[in-house]
C-alpha cells in the first residue's frame, strides 16, 4: 500500500517538475525577448534614420547655413556651435570636476560638510536637465547679463555634466592602490605631490574615459540649451564666446518641428551626423579604456 502511494506521489512530482521546468523555460524566453525587443527597437530606429537621411548626407549639409529651403539648408552653424560649446565646456568642467574629485577622494575630512557635498552631488545627478536650463537662464543669461551667448551655454553645460565627471574621477582615483600613495609619501612627497604625480597619473586613462563619456552626454543635450534661448536660425560663422549660437540637436529639433517632408529628412541626416559623432566618441573612450587601463 505504501509502495503504491509513494510511486503515485512520484508521478505527480515528475509531472509537476516538468510543468515547473516549462514555466522556467517561459520565464527565460520572456526575459530574453525583453532584451531583444530593446535591441530591435534600437536597430529599427537606426535603419529608419539612415533610410530617411542618407540621401541628404552630402557636402552641402556641412558647408551651408540653415535656410527656408531644405535643398539649401545645412548644419554649418550647428556644427560650429557644437564644437565650440564642447571646447569651452571642457575647459571649465575638466579642472573643476577632476579637482573636486581629487579633493573629495584624497583630502576631504570625514565631516558633515563633506557628507553634505556628497549628497549634493548625488542629488544633482538626478535633477532633470531642463531645470539646469532654467538655472542657466536665471543665473547666466539674465543674472550675469551674458545673454543667449555661447559662454552662457557652456557654463550651463558645465554645471550639468559636473556631477558625472566628479563621480568618474572619484572611481578612477579609488582604483589606485594604497601602496602607491604610501610609497610616495615614504619617499618624502607631500600629500599634494603624491596626488598630482602618482595617483592622478595612474588614474588618468580612466578619468579621460569618464570625461569623453560626459562630453558625449553634453553634445546630445537639447532641452537646457533651448531654455537658455540658443537660437535655431543662425546664418553666420561663430566669432567668439559672446555670440549667439545653435547646436546640432537644436537644429535637428527645429527641422523636425517644421511641416515639410524635406526638413524631416534633413533632420534624419543631422541625426546621422550626431550619432556618428557620438559613436566615435564612445569608441575612443572604449579604445582608451582597453589600451591604457592599468589592472592592479
Amino acid at each position: 500500500m505504501t509502495a503504491i502511494t509513494s510511486s503515485l506521489r512520484d508521478i505527480t512530482f515528475e509531472q509537476q517538475l516538468a510543468q515547473r521546468q516549462r514555466r522556467g523555460k517561459i520565464l527565460e524566453i520572456a526575459a530574453l525577448i525583453a532584451i531583444l525587443l530593446g535591441i530591435a527597437m534600437l536597430l529599427t530606429l537606426l535603419v529608419d534614420v539612415v533610410i530617411d537621411g542618407l540621401p541628404w548626407l552630402r557636402p552641402q549639409l556641412f558647408t551651408e547655413f540653415p535656410s527656408r529651403f531644405p535643398e539649401k539648408s545645412g548644419l554649418r552653424s550647428a556644427i560650429q556651435g557644437s564644437i565650440w560649446l564642447m571646447v569651452f565646456t571642457s575647459i571649465m568642467v575638466i579642472p573643476i570636476g577632476v579637482g573636486a574629485g581629487i579633493y573629495l577622494e584624497e583630502f576631504a575630512p570625514r565631516n558633515r560638510l563633506t557628507e553634505f557635498i556628497e549628497i549634493n552631488i548625488a542629488n544633482l545627478a538626478g535633477v532633470p536637465s531642463i531645470i539646469y536650463g532654467l538655472l542657466g537662464l536665471g543665473l547666466f543669461v539674465r543674472g550675469l547679463g551674458l545673454g543667449r551667448s555661447l559662454i552662457a551655454g557652456a557654463l550651463t553645460m558645465t554645471l550639468l555634466v559636473l556631477p558625472i565627471i566628479i563621480v568618474t574621477t572619484r572611481e578612477a582615483i579609488r582604483a589606485v592602490p594604497r601602496s602607491i600613495r604610501l610609497a610616495a609619501l615614504a619617499l618624502g612627497a607631500s600629500q599634494w605631490e603624491t596626488a598630482r604625480d602618482h595617483v592622478l597619473v595612474y588614474s588618468m586613462p580612466a578619468i579621460l574615459t569618464g570625461v569623453i563619456l560626459a562630453m558625449s552626454r553634453a553634445i546630445g543635450e537639447t532641452a537646457p540649451l533651448i531654455t537658455i534661448g540658443a537660437l535655431t536660425y543662425i546664418a553666420f560663422d561663430l566669432r567668439g564666446p559672446l555670440d549667439i549660437f545653435t547646436v546640432l540637436p537644436i537644429q535637428i529639433f527645429n527641422w523636425v518641428s517644421l511641416p515639410q517632408k524635406g526638413f524631416h529628412d534633413l533632420a534624419a541626416a543631422g541625426i546621422i551626423v550626431l550619432l556618428v559623432l557620438l559613436l566615435s566618441m564612445n569608441a575612443l573612450a572604449i579604445w582608451l579604456r582597453n589600451r591604457l587601463f592599468i589592472r592592479w
Binding site: 530593446g38 535591441i39 534600437l42 607631500s190
Partner: protein, 295 residues
C-alpha cells in the same frame, strides 16, 4: 618641506575645495533662481488656483493658471512609459543577472548602453515620424501629436536604466541564498522569481522610482511628439502637454523678461524640481537599504 612646497599644497587645497563647493552652489543656485521667479509669480496668482485649477492658458488673452492639465499630461506620458520600461527592464535585468553567459552579456550589454546613450531629440524624431504613423494605421482616431507615441518611445529610452540598476540589485544578492534554494530543489526560474527578486526588492524599487523620476523630467520626446495642448484627459491617443514641454514652448517664443509668462516656466520648473527631488530621495533611501543588507 620647503616653504614653497607647503605653500603650493595649501593653495591647491583651497582651490580644489572651492571646486568641490561648486556643486553646493549649483543646488543653491537652482533653488534660488526658481524661488525668486516663483515668488513673483505667486504675488499675482494664488497658490491654490495654481495647484487645483484645471485650466492652463497663460499665453492666451484670458489667462488661467491651473497647473493640473500639465501635471495630468506629465503623469499620463510617464505612466505609459512605465508600462513599457518596468516589466521589460526587470525581465532584461533577470536575464542578464541569472541566465546570460559571460559571452552573451558582453554582446548584449553594449546594445543597452547605446540605447541609453542616444540623444533624446533622436527619440523624439522616431516617436513623431515612425511610431505615430504606425499608431495611426492601427487606431485611426490617433492625433498627429499624441501621448502614446511619446510613452512607448520613452519607455524604451528608460529601459536600460531600469535594467542596469535592477541588475546591480540582483547581482548583490549573495550566492548563498541562491544555493540554499537550489538545495531545496527549486528550479532556476523559481530561484530567480521567488528568492532573488524578493531579496533585491528594495534595489528594484529604487530602480523603478528612478525611472519614474527620469520619465517626469524627460523633455525632448514630449516636446516633439506629444503636442502643446494642456488638457485633462486620460486618452493617450490625444494631443496633450507636459510640464517640460510647456517650458520648451515658452522658451522657443520671444517671451519678455518679467512678464507673467516668463515667470510661469519657473513656477512649473519649481513643481517639477520638487517632484523629482522627492522621488530621488525615496530612491536614495531604498538603495541605501539594500546596500546595508548585503554589502
Amino acid at each position: 618641506m620647503t616653504n614653497r612646497r607647503i605653500l603650493e599644497q595649501k593653495t591647491v587645497l583651497v582651490i580644489i575645495f572651492l571646486f568641490a563647493l561648486v556643486s553646493v552652489f549649483t543646488t543653491f543656485g537652482i533653488i534660488g533662481v526658481l524661488l525668486q521667479e516663483t515668488i513673483l509669480f505667486f504675488e499675482q496668482v494664488s497658490i491654490v488656483e495654481f495647484l487645483t485649477g484645471t485650466r492652463w492658458t497663460p499665453l492666451f488673452a484670458s489667462k488661467k493658471f491651473g497647473v493640473l492639465p500639465l501635471v495630468n499630461g506629465t503623469v499620463l506620458v510617464a505612466a505609459g512609459a512605465m508600462v513599457v520600461a518596468l516589466p521589460l527592464g526587470l525581465l532584461a535585468a533577470i536575464y542578464m543577472s541569472e541566465y546570460a553567459s559571460t559571452r552573451a552579456r558582453s554582446v548584449l550589454k553594449p546594445f543597452l548602453e547605446i540605447l541609453a546613450g542616444i540623444p533624446t531629440v533622436v527619440y523624439g524624431y522616431f516617436a513623431l515620424l515612425f511610431v505615430t504613423p504606425i499608431l495611426k494605421s492601427i487606431f485611426p482616431q490617433t492625433q498627429a501629436f499624441n501621448a502614446l507615441s511619446a510613452s512607448i518611445v520613452m519607455g524604451f529610452m528608460i529601459l536600460p536604466t531600469v535594467a542596469s540598476v535592477s541588475e546591480d540589485a540582483l547581482s548583490a544578492v549573495p550566492r548563498s541564498l541562491r544555493e540554499a534554494a537550489y538545495a531545496l530543489g527549486a528550479t532556476k526560474a523559481e530561484v530567480a522569481t521567488q528568492v532573488v527578486v524578493p531579496a533585491a526588492l528594495s534595489g528594484i524599487a529604487a530602480a523603478f522610482i528612478l525611472a519614474i523620476s527620469r520619465a517626469i523630467g524627460e523633455t525632448m520626446i514630449v516636446a516633439i511628439a506629444a503636442g502643446q495642448q494642456p488638457k485633462m484627459t486620460l486618452n493617450p491617443l490625444e494631443s496633450i502637454e507636459t510640464m517640460t514641454a510647456y517650458i520648451v514652448q515658452v522658451s522657443l517664443g520671444d517671451t519678455p523678461h518679467q512678464s507673467i509668462a516668463y515667470q510661469t516656466i519657473f513656477a512649473v520648473g519649481m513643481l517639477l524640481f520638487l517632484m523629482t527631488l522627492v522621488m530621488n530621495i525615496i530612491s536614495y533611501f531604498f538603495t541605501k537599504r539594500f546596500r546595508e543588507v548585503y554589502e
